[in-house]
Amino acid sequence: MHYSIFSLLKNAVTGNRLWTPAWRDPPPKPFYDTLIVGGGGHGLATAYYLAKEHGITDVAVLEKGYVGSGNVGRNTTIIRSNYLLPANTHFYEKSLQLWEGLEQDINYNAMVSQRGVLNLYHSDSQRDAYARRGNAMRLAGVDAELLDAAAVRAMVPGIDMDSARFPVKGGLLQRRGGTVRHDAVAWGYARAADRRGVDILQHTEVAGIRVEAGRVTGVETTRGFIGAKRVGLAAAGNSGRVAAMAGLRLPIETHVLQAFVSEAVKPVLDMVVTFGAGHFYVSQSDKGGLVFGGDIDGYNTYAQRGSLPAVEEVMESGVALFPAFSRLRYLRQWGGVMDMSMDGSPIIDRTPIDGLFLNCGWCYGGFKATPASGWCFAHTIATCAPHALNAGFRLDRFATGAVLDEKGAGAQANLH
């Protein structure tokens, strides 16, 4: 059913009895033109854009759990395009533009809220690095502003500007950045893809990838073999394991990132703020909870839970930045496991195996990428060649040395 104020009113008077499932629960077909492994944001968006942009509707999305059980359903919802390296800047800007028109496109309110993203700096060298980044954005046509301490003080009440161990000297602001309701992205894309004929198969885990004569022919699943001409892997966090089913070894480690949410309070913070002298970033959800997080735990893990050091670092940093948050209580913490790539940037590419495509390595920053990732991956799958926008996200860049290392942290997954 199309969502509109009228359908809401109609249902209101009929006791909400007319609503139908947001997406179907069809039995798997024996064969599909294209299979997408992974019912997260990227997999669902890929399926949607395959159908919408390329008319490929004989598609199934295979999800081992429920739709949104992965990182799309457990991330801290920040979107932005404040990247330094051209290959990233243009891609994430495309994503931001897709976000800006998403809700009307998929007829689902994902609560895209461009409340602004502010990265604070605490030293001259940090300022210079942000200036380099901000200028790169501006020169690529992306909005960015460099604020001094006074501007930050005026813009975000509550920041400790005076008695801090690492005083805030200013910040890099992207006003068009903001937040999007995580679950709504998964559900919205699932519903929109379903309405274009895509089968969404939940609780269908891919256990093997069948390759014959160098060409993919389908996948083994917990619900039996499903054949396909093309298979796209979008199994964030499990990419290494899934790719290994096709004999590929990736420049990726799986790590956990934790997140936290506080009790709901009346509005106290109306933008996304990241701390530059510790690991902490925070925004306030529409429900009133502070949604915050910090750095990854740093060790390989597939368990969706973290350990204390990361928790304490986040809480300490949070109070250091916003001393008034000290008395607010957090009510839940959780974790998600992500692909940490060796240069901190993603991979959207073909693989040495015909018909097998790869979308991985999103680290802790792939939610914002969801629309563009799906859009580019769909293009790459449909045309068997990367689009200009994902031309930099090649698998062979580690061999050539054309790495995309935004932080300059080097080839160590847990440093990105």
């Binding site: 969502y3 809401l8 009113l9 209101a12 008077v13 006791g15 909400n16 009895r17 609503w19 947001a22 997406w23 051209p86 243009h90 028109g101 809700e103 309110n109 994902a110 609560m111 409340r115 030293s123 210079d128 200036a131 380099r132 901000g134 200028n135 790169a136 501006r138 960015a144 502003e145 460099l146 801090a164 161990r165 690492f166 679950d183 559900w187 919205g188 009790e263 709901a264 309070v265 509005p267 002298a277 306030q284 429900k287 009133g288 839970r305 350990s307 204390l308 809480m315 250091a320 008034a324 948050f325 009510l331 913490q333 959780w334 040395g401 054309a402 932080k407 300059g408 080097g410 080839a411």
Partner: protein
């Protein structure tokens, strides 16, 4: 009777009212565990009331007849007090005010203290008259997930209109006004056996393990141990349960290796047997005394954990089940028996089994009139039927409560009998007993999944995390006898696992009623809204809607309706919610499963975990031995990583920092300056294998360095990019002294240890950080040698011949052994003098005194930066992790004759691409416009698009020597472009200028001054 705004007034003679105290009309004359000798005054919504020590805010409010205490999240429904513990979803208040304000605080867990101030939340203009209540009428329009379906048109309206409205409406309490004034502590505990929960089971577990000799820690969330025993009229060992608990507590206190922490909540179980707990050290006081923290965050390492956290009673989902006056039956007993408060005068009890009958008996004994008992079972035991008739209470067997009436407070209950016939019964209290859910949360924090137990219609712990045992109600064993027995059993087992064998204590006599229970979760088709999640206003209709729209898995149900996502994490809602869903799908509860329990068990203050690491003490600070001296000499300090460094030394009459920095830099070029460089990383590499290790670590060859000589070295990462640079001094054939940048000191030390221990364990070499051993002073400028000569004790020849550039010797200063290195980052004749830390300050005084005739000038990091930029030395801006040695002009230093970290990957095509950017200098074309670091470079006239970018500015400053702004930049094919002009774009700061590309070495390119 119609619920008035203010306190409800009771009618019954055995209440304290009319007696001495005019207040607390609902306080029972006798009984309870409160201290009647003292009264405490407190206020709620500005109105003053009295209570007693031993009260919670909830019991004190009830004692005063205050039953409307909150408004609900979405529909702003009037809400009262549902429970008597951690599970409370309704009675959330704002405690304290100003910077100490604490929103969303559970009245059921706030210990009353003198002067307590509490306020209701989320209502306007007042609690009694809350306009937000109109939402109730729009309920059908704003059912679960409605916002996903609307607010999309026009697109721009979301941020501008809809969202701000939603945000204002959402949220419960208000955050504090200012920085938290209180202190917080962190502390660590180690024990053999950790017992979580001090009820019947926990006390026995602690006793058993403690007597066996194990190191035991017992955590009790409540102010007193005893658990349900404090709330039940029950005997243990022939004494009242509460008394028995106190007696066990006092025995435990005598056991030296047993420790009890009350007011302490275990909130998370982590990998490795770590449990984190929050102790409310001073929350029961108006304000923490100066020497005490408000709260203490405990990190507990336990070899064994006994979970004895008890159980939480669950409400029944029926129409109007959220009305103030509807209460959990167990909570009713807590108020009557523990707090000596009568929660109502005319009661209806709605029970699914035997347990509710305890409330019937206790209420009646306390003097309440039992209007009716509605027992959902098909038949009830004779004894209970008899009790009903004794109390001449209407007994409705096989009945249901289908609705309630009342404005802001319950006035009557709608009852349906087994045949479906309905009648209304006047009542101001409805006690509901739907069965109990074990508090198994901590058993799930490491991924454990609970198991459905048909016998008790509840989830019980499934496969347990390593080292955990569960006892009593937490395991779904609800009789006091089994709680005691299982507690003892688990205590003995846990102690045995830690090597303390014993047979365990005798099990005291106690009630062992089986406790019959019918599965009763939901009364469909009742009157009015039937709430599943009280705090998030999720009704049975919302669950049905989620099902209709395909959100049928528990996780989807939760996320779509927000069931169980409030501050109580669904303690009273989750199981009933999925029971309602299971009913619709017909999958049954086991088939439906449950959502994931995550920490914390109850919400924890962010600041409690931050502990003392806040404000100025967020991170420890490192100060050099010269810090005090610098401060005394006008230095202003800047944070550099963990360090505080002197930026510049302002002098009277200087307009701004630029004046100071220019003066300092010029003094170095013209005379002599001294700078504190103690923060540089310093590592002593010693042993026969030292040279070989350094050959591996550094790009250049170190083994060929002569004793008494120093070499500038560059270090690569294994991926071929530059990691760090620094100097290597050979003090003896087998002893090297290397320096690193301040920023990378830790990283480099760790990397060298990696190279030694992991890659070359065969090398006999030791690494030692000596950063803190030396106060390191740079002495630079044409007069540097004169100054050094004046400072050090006579003897060593430091003439250019004896101590040339890049040489080092041992010297002494006033008898103190020091080291003198001749090296320069300023491009001047320069030395670094290493003085043992204790003598740093004295040496600096000596340097200043002896240097006075030479006009010695202390300079800070800013001038240091200016000098190195003028000299084209790469530093932070250039060592950004994205540059190769060649990029920053150090290409020749990487030897191709030997293996070294990073050598091979540095050969990758993209790293040796001749088109790569390299380090150049920039001068403003107009000779005066400042160039800013972070600006990007473009061909003049080229279209300004990313693909045309030619590089960027890495460092910039005003050069007092050249009298103009200068900069270092990484420019594509830069070497070939010296002399050309380039466009410098800095859109962030509206910068657009031309600059001339030049050599990065602005001063003395031949290096004569350095070597002179």
């Amino acid at each position: 009777m119609n619920a008035p705004q203010g306190p409800v007034t009771p009618a019954r003679e055995n209440l304290a009212s009319g007696a001495a105290a005019p207040t607390q009309p609902w306080r029972l004359k006798t009984g309870g565990q409160i201290d009647r000798t003292r009264t405490l005054s407190f206020s709620f919504d500005g109105k003053r009331f009295a209570g007693n020590p031993g009260d919670t805010l909830a019991s004190a409010l009830l004692a005063n007849g205050v039953r409307l205490v909150a408004r609900s999240f979405k529909y702003h429904r009037p809400r009262g007090i549902l429970s008597a513990g951690a599970e409370e979803p309704n009675a959330l208040v704002e405690l304290h005010s100003g910077a100490r304000r604490e929103p969303n605080t559970r009245a059921t867990q706030i210990e009353l203290f003198e002067g307590l101030e509490a306020r209701s939340q989320n209502r306007w203009p007042s609690l009694a008259l809350d306009l937000g209540a109109v939402n109730g009428f729009f309920a059908p329009l704003i059912a679960a997930g409605f916002y996903y379906k609307t607010f999309m048109w026009p697109a721009s309206f979301w941020e501008k209109l809809y969202e701000p409205l939603i945000r204002r409406a959402a949220g419960l309490g208000r955050a504090p006004d200012g920085p938290d004034p209180d202190r917080y502590e962190r502390a660590h505990l180690h024990c053999d056996v950790l017992v979580v929960g001090g009820g019947a089971a926990g006390l026995m577990a602690a006793l058993a393990a403690g007597r066996a000799g194990a190191r035991v820690l017992l955590l009790e969330e409540d102010v007193a141990v005893g658990g349900r025993l404090l709330s039940e009229v029950e005997e243990v060992d022939g004494r009242p349960g509460a008394e028995w608990a106190r007696q066990v507590e006092s025995e435990l206190a005598t056991l030296p290796r047993v420790r009890i922490l009350r007011r302490t909540t275990a909130f998370a179980l982590l990998d490795g047997g770590v449990v984190t707990a929050l102790e409310r050290v001073a929350d029961h006081l108006p304000q923490p005394p100066a020497h005490l923290p408000r709260q203490r965050y405990w990190k507990i390492v336990a070899r064994r954990v006994v979970l004895a956290a008890g159980a939480i009673e669950r409400p029944v989902v029926f129409g109007g089940n959220d009305r103030p006056g509807v209460m959990l039956a167990g909570a009713v007993r807590s108020y009557v028996n523990r707090f000596a408060v009568l929660p109502g005068a005319r009661a209806v009890v709605f029970t699914a089994g035997d347990d509710g009958w305890r409330s019937v008996a206790d209420l009646a004994r306390a003097g309440a009139r039992i209007e009716a008992v509605v027992d959902a079972r098909r038949e009830v035991p004779a004894a209970q039927a008899q009790l009903a008739s004794q109390l001449d209470a209407r007994l409705v067997v096989g009945g249901r409560v289908v609705g309630t009436q009342g404005g802001r407070h319950l006035v009557s209950v709608q009852i349906a009998n087994a045949q479906g016939g309905e009648e209304g019964v006047g009542a101001d209290l409805l006690a509901m007993a739907g069965g109990w859910n074990p508090s198994l949360h901590l058993s799930c924090h490491l991924g454990g999944r609970p198991r459905w137990d048909e016998a008790i219609h509840a989830f019980v712990p499934g496969d347990l995390p390593a080292g955990m045992g569960v006892a009593g109600a937490a395991r779904g064993r609800f009789s006091t006898h089994t709680a005691l027995a299982e507690g003892a059993r688990e205590g003995v087992a846990a102690a045995r696992d830690c090597g303390f064998a014993s047979n365990g204590p005798a099990i005291p006599r106690a009630e062992d009623a089986p406790g019959d229970l019918a599965p009763l979760f939901h009364v469909p088709r009742g009157h009015g809204k039937a709430f599943v999640d009280f705090q998030h206003d999720v009704t049975d209709k919302d669950v049905a809607l989620a099902h209709r729209e395909g959100f049928r898995s528990v996780e989807h149900l939760k996320r779509y309706t927000t069931l169980g996502m409030a501050t109580d994490q669904g303690k009273t809602a989750n199981v009933t919610g999925l029971a309602v869903m299971a009913n619709i799908t017909g999958l049954g509860i086991p088939g439906t499963g449950t959502t994931t329990h995550r920490p914390p068990w109850t919400p924890v203050a962010i600041g409690a975990i931050a502990g003392p690491h806040r404000g100025r003490h967020f991170r420890p600070a490192r100060r050099t031995p010269l810090h005090r001296w610098a401060a005394a000499n006008g230095a202003s300090f800047v944070e550099v990583g963990p360090w505080y460094r002197a930026e510049w030394y302002a002098r009277p009459g200087e307009a701004g920092w630029r004046d100071s920095v220019d003066r300092e830099a010029l003094a170095v070029r013209a005379g002599v300056g001294v700078c504190d460089v103690s923060t540089l990383g310093k590592i002593e590499v010693v042993g026969p294998g030292a040279a070989a290790l350094l050959d591996l670590v550094y790009g250049n060859m170190i083994s060929t360095l002569a004793v008494g000589r120093v070499r500038y070295g560059v270090m690569l990462r294994e991926d071929g990019f530059v990691m760090d640079d620094g100097t290597v001094a050979r003090l003896a054939p087998d002893r090297f002294f290397v320096t690193t940048t301040t920023a990378n000191a830790g990283k480099v030390m760790q990397h060298m240890e990696f190279c030694h221990q992991v890659l070359r364990p065969d090398l006999d070499v030791s690494l030692l950080s000596v950063t803190d051993a030396w106060a390191q002073v740079s002495i630079a400028g044409p007069r540097a040698r004169d100054l050094v000569a004046a400072v050090i004790d006579p003897a060593p020849d430091i003439s250019n011949g004896a101590l040339p550039h890049m040489a080092c010797i041992e010297v002494s200063v006033a008898g103190v052994p020091c080291r003198l290195y001749r090296l320069s980052f300023s491009g001047e004749l320069a030395y670094e003098l290493g003085v043992p830390g204790d003598y740093g300050e004295a040496a600096m005084q000596r340097i200043m005194a002896r240097g006075a005739p030479l006009g010695v000038t202390p300079y800070g990091t800013e001038a240091l930066g200016v000098l190195r930029i003028e000299k084209g030395h790469p530093a932070g801006g250039e060592l950004n992790g994205q540059t190769t040695a060649r990029d920053i002009g150090l290409g020749k230093m990487v030897s191709t004759k030997k293996d070294c970290i990073g050598r091979r990957l540095a050969e990758r095509p993209a790293l040796v691409d001749p088109a790569r950017h390299v380090l150049v200098g920039l001068k403003p074309a107009d000779g005066r416009s400042p160039i800013r670091a972070g600006a990007h470079l473009y061909e003049i006239g080229a279209q300004v698009v990313t693909s045309n970018g030619q590089g960027y500015v890495t460092s910039a400053c005003h050069s007092p020597t050249l009298g103009m702004p200068i900069a270092l930049a990484l420019l594509d094919r830069g070497a070939e472009r010296v002399g050309q002009r380039i466009r410098v774009l800095d859109p962030l700061r509206n910068g657009d200028m031309d600059a001339e590309v030049c050599s990065p070495v602005f001063v003395d390119p031949e290096g004569g001054r350095t070597r002179g």
